[in-house]
């Protein structure tokens, strides 16, 4: 793995170095060149931070592709450039790799030096806070496509961060609305022992309280270490997991919080009582699914498959939405000037079409992208939340996650 990362990084660094002079020139010339001037395209450079991804997953299906996320950004660059032919704008993607908060901050500096004004960060919360500060020092805008922490939307308010990725509360609320609609309101919650699992379990408990469900049993599955899998491993899984899940009160569904993939994938078909599974396994709330094709989604899926040769995952879509946000704002603002583009992007008129059946907009107070959440099981999109009947005075999409009054952020 180390070798691949290094060699890829070297190639990217070379690409960045080649692109840099053009990108810098563009930033300087952007102020004078507008959409009307198609002769000399304005270059708009966008950076993408590639994280160190977990290589080992419980299911082989979930092993991340080397270009996970970055491929979505690259497709959006193509889409932006197709439009750019008519507006005199040319888009470039610069990529950097970072594993730690310090590396992420350093990568942001390199992207700034290469002429990028926007950074798409697929990083956990701690790294996001660090790199956002580095980006702020350079006047850059960050798209968060990795950190789902609700605290980043309610307490730690980052003025130069747009949250494209849904928060845990948005995901949990989306699931809860559907389960409420199904009247599956008695939940058996099983959470992993890592901080992310605990945070997701908290979001699930909050969602249950909000939408009229009851957690009838609340258990923690301790990660005691050990290998991801062993040969003949299923023999023990099928003996141990049901035993762990027995003696729970009557429940309609088992809800799993296991972001770290310690046990969740194994829960379906291994419950003590025959019940469906949702959360981190079974019916999963997500911003995107490789099988989503409604609202024109099939067109994006086809474009992605043609270009990349694999299915489009959630990480790819989040990066696509981030790059398209810049493209959309640049088209509408008819400018290549980063400040003008950001003014539009963070302003009241910005909206993004992203194959979700309605316009996606930003919550002005914390810059979280409002979006319908898909509920998918890997083979089909079972439903899309918000569900009908859950009302909100300003936007039904704000029935998902923390609302304005619950957030300390006020941009």
């Amino acid at each position: 793995m180390g070798g691949t990362v290094r060699s890829r990084f070297a190639a990217l660094a070379l690409a960045c170095a080649l692109v840099a002079p053009y990108a810098l020139g563009a930033v300087i010339s952007a102020a004078v060149s507008t959409a009307a001037n198609a002769a000399e395209p304005v270059t708009i450079a966008i950076g993408y931070l590639i994280p160190e991804r977990r290589e080992l997953t419980l299911s082989l299906m979930d092993r991340p592709a080397a270009d996970l996320g970055a491929a979505g950004a690259a497709l959006a660059i193509d889409d932006n450039n197709t439009t750019g032919r008519f507006t005199g704008q040319s888009y470039e993607l610069l990529t950097e790799t970072a594993a730690t908060p310090e590396e992420a901050a350093a990568a942001v500096d390199r992207l700034a030096a290469a002429g990028a004004h926007w950074v798409i960060a697929d990083m956990p919360g701690e790294a996001l806070v660090t790199l956002a500060a580095a980006a702020d020092a350079k006047g850059m805008l960050v798209f968060n496509v990795g950190a789902r922490d609700d605290a980043l939307r309610t307490e730690t308010c980052l003025a130069n961060v747009v949250h494209i990725v849904p928060s845990r509360a948005m995901l949990a609320d989306a699931l809860a609305q559907y389960l409420a609609w199904k009247k599956w309101t008695r939940w058996f919650l099983v959470a992993g022992s890592h901080p992310e699992d605990i945070a997701f379990a908290d979001a699930i408990r909050r969602a249950a309280a909000r939408f009229g469900a009851r957690i009838v049993e609340d258990r923690t599955f301790e990660d005691t270490g050990g290998a991801r899998t062993t040969d003949s491993g299923h023999v023990q899984v099928q003996r141990r997991l049901p035993v762990f899940l027995q003696d729970a009160p009557e429940h309609d569904i088992v809800v799993v919080a296991d972001e770290n993939e310690v046990f969740g994938t194994h829960v379906p078909y291994h419950t003590w009582t025959p019940r469906p599974v949702a959360g981190s396994a079974g019916l999963m709330p997500t911003a995107w699914s490789p099988v989503h094709e409604q609202w024109g989604g099939i067109q994006l899926q086809n474009r992605f498959l043609d270009k990349v040769g694999r299915r489009m995952e959630e990480e790819d879509m989040l990066a696509w939405m981030a790059v398209r946000s810049v493209g959309e704002a640049a088209t509408r603002a008819a400018s290549g000037d980063p400040e003008t583009i950001d003014d539009y992007l963070l302003g009241p008129d910005f909206s993004l079409a992203a194959f979700k059946g309605e316009a996606l907009t930003l919550r002005s107070w914390n810059r979280q992208l409002r979006q319908p959440i898909l509920l998918a099981d890997g083979k089909s999109v079972v439903s899309v939340s918000p569900q009908e009947g859950f009302l909100h005075p300003s936007s039904f999409l704000d029935t998902l996650g923390y609302d304005r009054a619950e957030s300390a952020c006020d941009f």
């Binding site: 889409d79 197709t82 439009t83 024109g296 067109q299 309605e358 316009a359 936007s395 039904f396």
Partner: protein, 323 residues
């Protein structure tokens, strides 16, 4: 022959005094892989034609003898006999054809290829592809100016109306509109193009000479959240006085005064209404309701839904043909 025609039109005239002339309505059913054939006299489905996969765009060509159906999942346009309902041949269309428009010359079909960012031009006589024109991302809506000089294509992710010169096949103008433009319709006098924006929730009125948006129509239905109002199909009466706009999941067709751009009525139709088609003499307009699997019949003068006809699964496009 002339005598027969004369007699026929005289008959038609006489008929129109009492009741409208008879015609046939063809409806493409996107999920049903079929075309429902409706008789205007009974307003009932008289035949269902099995067609290719995912039929959407539908029109009549060759002086009413041929029915053209874009079958996206089969990457072709199928041609059917409008009388016998037999499949005659297929046209090269480029991949995933969705919507198309027939040039007033009756011979050139302009097809939007959603997946390839192209508009394909097909010659019906020679059944061959004439040209491929690169446009914006996800081309869909197709309109043609009455004089045949310009095609307007809308691209759903680029969010533009592209004006294409039909002689040179070059783009001569790009007009930015609201999110996800779905449909383009010229007024019969060529003075305006109306472009609907599904996600933007608006209809942009475009000056086809200056390539500028001169007005934007928005919609408001009490009790409906604004996001549910998603304009798709647009039809304007030949006299340019009245426009009908299908509002998707708002389950309504808006009636618009096409001179003042004021919305005068919202007609409740079936679920997820997308496309519209006038009867030959414009006394009726038909609306396809995808989710409720039916077609609403709207009396144009009375501005009233007068009938609902069950058709196949997920009706999409509609075209009418005088008998």
């Amino acid at each position: 022959m002339r005598a027969i025609l004369c007699a026929a039109s005289l008959l038609a005239l006489t008929a129109s005094a009492g009741q409208a002339m008879a015609y046939t309505i063809f409806v493409s059913n996107e999920k049903g892989n079929s075309v429902s054939v409706i008789d205007s006299e009974t307003m009932e489905v008289t035949d269902t034609i099995d067609v290719g996969q995912r039929p959407r765009g539908i029109t009549v060509a060759e002086e009413g003898t041929h029915l053209l159906v874009a079958v996206g999942d089969d990457d072709t346009v199928e041609v059917y006999d409008t009388k016998t309902h037999e499949r005659l041949y297929t046209l090269p269309s480029g991949p995933d054809p969705e919507l198309f428009v027939l040039h007033p010359d009756g011979n050139h079909l302009y097809i939007a290829n959603e997946d390839d960012n192209l508009v394909t031009v097909v010659d019906l006589k020679s059944r061959s592809m004439v040209s491929e024109i690169p446009v914006g991302v996800e081309p869909e809506g197709m309109g043609v100016s009455p004089d045949g000089k310009f095609i307007v294509n809308t691209s759903e992710t680029t969010n533009m109306a592209h004006f294409i010169d039909t002689e040179s096949h070059e783009i001569v103008g790009n007009v930015l509109v609201d999110q996800r433009p779905r449909f383009a319709e010229f007024k019969a006098d060529g003075s305006e193009v109306w472009v609907s924006s599904e996600i933007g929730g608006s209809v942009s009125i475009i000056d086809p000479i200056k390539h500028e948006v001169t007005h934007k129509i928005t919609f408001e239905v009490p009790g409906l959240r604004p996001e549910a109002i998603q304009p798709v199909g647009v039809r304007i009466t030949k006299d340019g006085s009245t426009a009908f706009v299908a509002l998707g999941p708002a389950n309504r067709v808006a009636v618009v005064d096409a001179a003042t751009y004021e919305v005068t009525d919202y007609l409740l139709v079936g679920q997820r209404v997308w496309q519209l088609g006038f009867s030959p003499d414009e006394d009726m307009i038909f609306a396809t309701n995808g989710v409720s699997n039916d077609v609403s019949v709207i009396d144009v003068a009375a501005r009233e839904v007068v009938n609902t006809i069950p058709v196949g699964e997920f009706p999409w496009g509609v075209v009418t043909l005088a008998d």
